[in-house]
Symmetry: C2
């Protein structure tokens, strides 16, 4: 059983997950991965290589865990956390820990092994976003979970160990420190102004107009005022929405459209970079509806970080966001 341990000095939660050691790619000291080699566990006809599916988009009458799917959600074979036991918080001398209760799932986004989001049909991208919603709603029913992180690592430099397009979901019994920071900053702003900080940012960015890349009927893409990385972008609903899972399915069509448009731009200008896509959703806390606004963060991995960022959580970005947008708009 994995463990969740808290560092008393930094407050950071760490999952001690020995299961992850069993991954075929793990601790290869030569550090030379070849993601295209071997049999892909996410390809059609290899369904036996993953645990049984939890959710799928399938052609009519095709059978679960057989061929004929367009998208599958399966438990991660090497999960960081597990839902098997009751949650136990343990005082370990001067330390805090709990057993590693949680969930770790994989969304296999397509039956094509080598397709980018920029090449997918908009309907397919929409189905990815719908699957995020279905799984958040499903996992949210488990009262042990306090927060769900949806994320996508694309490319080795972004932390991916499997080439086939996929996203991941991790459900946690604690609220991570970064999520707490966003929550308390937006809450303070709301107390002071009685307005959502994010809605105010959107209003300002739309009038300023030097950091906005795209906008459609439901979503906007812009570079934030203080981006940690060059070409980092935010995609978010224009209308105030606290929880991703409350977004009507039909809106995911415009989200899919704007993401495809963005990925095409980014792929062209930055030569198909590795990237992380992060869904920043509200945690399962009462009353955060008025002040929390969900958003997607898209980070192309161009330059990497080092010890300074690890030590401080400060970032050095050589390209101002206004310039990033200019370059992307060319």
């Amino acid at each position: 059983m994995p463990e969740l341990r808290q560092d008393p000095l930094t407050g950071i939660w760490v999952m001690i997950s020995p299961e992850r050691k069993k991954r075929p790619q793990y601790l290869d000291l030569s550090r030379k991965f070849n993601l295209k080699s071997d049999i892909c566990p996410f390809c059609e006809r290899n369904e036996y290589m993953t645990p049984p599916e939890i959710y799928a988009v399938r052609k009519d009458n095709s059978e679960a865990n057989k061929t004929g799917w367009k998208l599958r959600v399966v438990p991660n074979k090497y999960p960081a956390l597990s839902a098997k036991e009751e949650l136990n918080k343990i005082e370990d001398q001067i330390y805090n820990k709990m057993n590693g209760v949680g969930a770790h799932e994989v969304i296999i986004e397509s039956d094509s092994h080598d397709i980018g989001i920029d090449e997918m049909e908009v309907e397919q991208i929409k189905q990815i976003f719908v699957s995020y919603k279905r799984r958040i709603l499903g996992l949210k029913r488990d009262k042990r979970f306090k927060y769900i992180q949806v994320f996508k690592n694309h490319g080795i430099e972004a932390g991916s160990s499997i080439h086939h397009p996929h996203s991941q979901i991790i459900a946690l019994p604690v609220i991570p420190s970064k999520v707490m920071d966003r929550l308390s900053n937006t809450k303070n702003y709301f107390k002071l102004h009685n307005r959502c900080l994010f809605c105010d940012i959107l209003d300002y960015e739309r009038s300023y107009n030097k950091r906005v890349l795209f906008e459609n009927r439901d979503f906007i893409v812009f570079a934030s005022y203080a981006p940690k990385f060059p070409f980092e972008l935010i995609i978010c609903p224009i209308k105030h929405t606290s929880s991703y899972e409350r977004t009507p399915d039909k809106n995911f069509m415009s989200l899919a459209e704007i993401l495809k448009q963005t990925m095409k731009k980014m792929g062209k200008v930055l030569d198909n970079p590795a990237y992380n896509l992060l869904l920043h959703n509200s945690p399962f806390i009462k009353n955060c509806e008025p002040y929390f606004h969900w958003y997607v963060e898209l980070i192309p991995i161009i330059s990497g970080t080092g010890g300074f960022e690890l030590a401080t959580n400060c970032y050095i970005n050589p390209i101002p966001p206004e310039e990033s947008i200019q370059i992307l708009e060319k």
Copy 2:
């Protein structure tokens, strides 16, 4: 002039530093660095390639910025921050920024281009630690600076772009969020117990003895209870010391000894990994002496991170610290 911008949502400070774009290695979209090629700006006889030195350990009578040195400290040629202007805090509509006042220096640790800490003379390693102290004392006199981060990136995977052994120092006009977290956690502990959290951790770890790797008369090396990465280690003074720069020079001899011993172990067991070495020092805040305890964090880069860590500041570590120590002790 660079800028420091704060993200209102996360509270994170970002340096927008266009100077960094001029680095020869920057934005190489092919992402294929060859660190051993080209002329090394840190090698002897290439002193003209760096800005004039601020501090050096030199053979008798050798002239500044000429050959004959054993260690040099120079301003970073592509600084993230600059000390040229007065500090100006600016309200930028709903955002906060200030001009990027600070310092960014490089410690060239040896005249050998290709030497590891595990291969250096103990006296040479001691001189590196003494140079950190001298520069912290020097930079601390500038009242605009609130915090100084000393760090070393070794190897491409650790964020290094130059192979020649070196560390870096960045002086900041703000206290970064991670430093604030450590400060408030240790302060709270002190309020509650009237004791230093770190001293209590040391006491406990020495009696528990399953996470301690080495100990000498002044320093101890151990794996923390909740390490973010496999084989992550902490090196710290046994006697409570809040500020690194208050450490007597003679103690840096035992620090050098224990670091060399640790690097030899790590190099052997992990096949000379890339690594980050981070000096966590007290910020320039009054009265934090009783509760803050400086330490060095040593992180070998074995597995890397992805979107989950970026989004949450939670980490997934497949190897429990007790096992890391067992493997290192073999």
